[in-house]
Symmetry: C2
Subunit: 323 residues, 2 copies
């Protein structure tokens, strides 16, 4: 029998942040691709479009006029999934028909006045303003809400309906499923192993180097050992940091997104997930469909192969190369 | 304060099969759609294409020639995510870097010799042959493997790379995440409430009628109270049935997919999930993206509204209307 080779032999890997397993079948990358091919991302977005409701000076769905902002700009989502004052569905429920109150706010935050720019193309000082704003939001919304989720849907393929660079912030009075899972897993790990899960993990990945994509004095980006999306990465601080506002000025010059909780939690570590939908190129995506939805998440190349490809990409942004 | 109305007021609903919550924000359906519009499904598939590896008489990737089959036809997936003989990754693992052996088989099953037909357009006697074949497979593969997942990825939008009507069957020596969750939840429910979860649920939905889409003597199709996909449905037998092979001839004349386990399990009930990706029409999909992946699944219309729309669709298949 041949000896085990993760690139040739399917196996399961454990995700300690979600207490679940992912099926890794790297030999599947050998199959020819015959499925749907996506349109390449659009490259003709005008810098300013007076009809785009996210641009400076534009009129939004509710009739308000945006200021002529020159840095970040924040407003309440005009069609929020979470509102602050929804009535309570009540509590006398059958175990099979349980509901509970959900309250919160949904905000939209523009990163920059230009529509034809993205975070990686912005100047460090401009990015720093975004990060400071995120930290302020965690303080502000975190005072009232149990969980503040900052996320960016990037690209039409990921349901983003507006090319203008922006993220969303959804704060809720409940701990969402994913947060509750990460919270429980990290709590159990500290209790069992005496060190916060992601602090220990960052140290071990920095030692091994195999899955590290990029690192500096303060931060580490890895393709996690348990990644499900082909090029999924995880951003981790090197030291133990609870929340975005706890980052130092130096750390903020070099960091994105984060998470927040109301209690004091020594098991929690600030982190950001990136879930790009691509499998082989900018036009061939990974479909998480029948087997993944009904049975188990599955990936087609190893996290180590993905990290290697990402490391080799070079520093220069693809849009800069063209000009 | 207004009284609670699920169509107007966001709330959380509990999914007892997954022990998790879904955020229901039906008021979001009021927003105008500005996102990606999908291509309508193709309608020009030839009945027979000698270059399509799923057609009768075609040559497949491995050089084998398909028989001139006139009913169902089964073969081993040429690029299987699960193989029967993968070596074991070993067992001496750090808690943050755990892996384990995954063994199994992946099969492809064609439903019909024609490429321009789908299950709903096939004759009842032809569908019955598919169901009998599924039941045979559960017996055959279930003798060796812990879990046999039958699934159909339908449409290019869901990663299906071949228009020929077919499903896949992935059998594994491990219980996949979703199966393990459904297994635990049903086991706990029986212990606590003295009746299998889905048996009780089917009875209560049949009484309430609010979420029933279609029913007959043996089966019930509902939009589950906890559905996450806009038009997700759940097929349930009215009586307690463990596995597909346990279905009577009469029941088979009226039923699809199923599941299987190696132990005797009185808490388990046979069921099939349908997860259509659409939100508003055949060209506007629901994106499960940033908030859903990082925080919590969210839906934009209530399951009751979805059931109502589905009930009103009428019996005639849309392709039959055109001709
Ligand atoms: O049918 P295929 O091409 O083997 O594969 C398809 O279904 C699989 C199981 O859901 C997914 O893992 C793939 O991403 C998808 O493209
Ligand atoms: O940005 P939008 O249009 O509000 O909405 C987008 O992100 C939401 C949060 O991930 C999803 O629920 C929607 O399906 C998606 O279209």
């Amino acid at each position: 029998k041949p000896t085990f080779d993760p690139k040739e032999h399917q196996h399961l890997r454990y995700n300690p942040l979600r207490d679940s397993w992912v099926l890794v079948s790297a030999h599947r990358m050998k199959r020819p691709w015959k499925g749907q091919v996506e349109k390449p991302p659009e490259d003709n977005t005008p810098r300013h479009d007076p009809n785009n409701p996210l641009c400076p000076g534009s009129v939004r769905a509710n009739g308000e006029v945006n200021p002529e902002y020159d840095s970040t700009f924040m407003f309440d989502n005009d069609f929020p999934a979470l509102q602050p004052d929804a009535p309570d569905p009540g509590s006398d429920h059958h175990p099979l028909f349980q509901s509970k109150a959900a309250r919160g706010v949904c905000k939209v935050m523009c990163f920059h006045p230009w529509s034809d720019i993205t975070l990686p193309l912005m100047q460090p000082a401009e990015i720093r303003k975004v990060i400071d704003k995120w930290a302020d939001l965690i303080v502000e919304l975190g005072a009232e809400y149990t969980w503040v989720q900052i996320f960016e849907n990037k690209g039409a393929m990921m349901g983003c309906s507006n090319p203008h660079p922006h993220c969303q912030v959804w704060a809720s009075n409940f701990l969402p499923n994913e947060a509750a899972l990460a919270e429980r897993c990290q709590r159990d790990f500290l209790q069992k192993h005496g060190e916060p899960l992601l602090v220990q993990y960052a140290r071990m990945e920095a030692q091994a180097q195999e899955r590290v994509v990029v690192e500096n004095e303060h931060w580490l980006v890895v393709v996690p050992y348990w990644a499900t999306w082909p090029f999924q990465t995880l951003l981790l601080p090197r030291r133990h940091v609870f929340r975005l506002p706890d980052l130092t000025a130096q750390e903020r010059d070099r960091a994105p997104t984060g998470s927040h909780l109301q209690e004091d939690m020594s098991h929690w570590q600030l982190h950001a997930h990136y879930y790009p939908p691509l499998l082989r190129s900018a036009t061939i995506r990974k479909f998480m469909v029948g087997y993944e939805m009904l049975a188990n998440e599955q990936r087609d190349l190893t996290p180590e192969q993905a990290a290697d490809q990402l490391r080799k990409l070079g520093e220069e942004h693809y849009k800069m190369k063209k000009t």
